[in-house]
Symmetry: C2
Subunit: 132 residues, 2 copies
């Protein structure tokens, strides 16, 4: 299998690249995550977002606990080849573990971070085992 | 001056956070950059995007060479408080040093990164001194 496209990505010292995740339908930026080379290869071969969880130090198939899988629509590389942009179909319309559409739900207003987006689904329902 | 909002950001070991930059009008993701605490404070006080350039190890007022300033419309923080999302007005409609609207102009197609967006402005005109 040709892996030149994986070699063209400029992995950082830890073997990772940042990933911006955008909803293909609404264009909302849903989240920011990281991928290893293996995660990127799996994302493309499986057609769903697979990240590298830095906190858990393991591969993380988005939706493995919540069912909120991200189906891959397109993947882009930036000019410096060190950041990826994923366009996805967000199952359930919720990307954030807090039960919101996007992880970016706080906005700076008058010197304070204000929660401006509603909780769409109860996190206790999303993660019945408590394991997000 | 109240700086609690700056303290709430979870700066990484190098004192930086990743920043996703989105065009407020088109919703396109224009670029991915980094901010230090000072860069974020200046971005808010000046109303324009100021980044930390890791390659040049200095503050970088976006547009300082090209004139393609990014006017701040809104700024958001994610659930883990370790990534920012900027909504900007992109002067000149070009964010990328290659003269394209977005830095994410290559898409993976059949195992190859393919340039799918046009060059809007000649980079030689954007950076007459050669200094991007």
């Amino acid at each position: 299998m040709d892996t030149d496209w994986l070699d063209e990505v400029r992995w950082d010292a830890g073997g990772l690249v940042p990933v911006v995740v955008q909803d293909h339908a609404t264009a909302r930026v849903l989240m920011h995550a990281w991928m290893s080379r293996e995660a990127l290869a799996l994302t493309v071969s499986e057609g769903r977002a697979v990240y590298w969880s830095r906190s858990r130090a393991r591969l993380w198939r988005k939706g493995e606990s919540s069912g909120h899988v991200q189906r891959l629509r397109a993947i882009r590389l930036d000019c410096d080849a060190d950041t990826l942009l994923l366009s996805v179909e967000q199952t359930g319309g919720v990307a954030c573990h807090t039960g919101r559409e996007s992880c970016f739900y706080r906005e700076l207003r008058d010197g304070r971070w204000v929660e401006v987006d509603p909780v769409v689904k109860d996190p206790a329902v999303l993660y019945p085992s408590g394991d997000r």
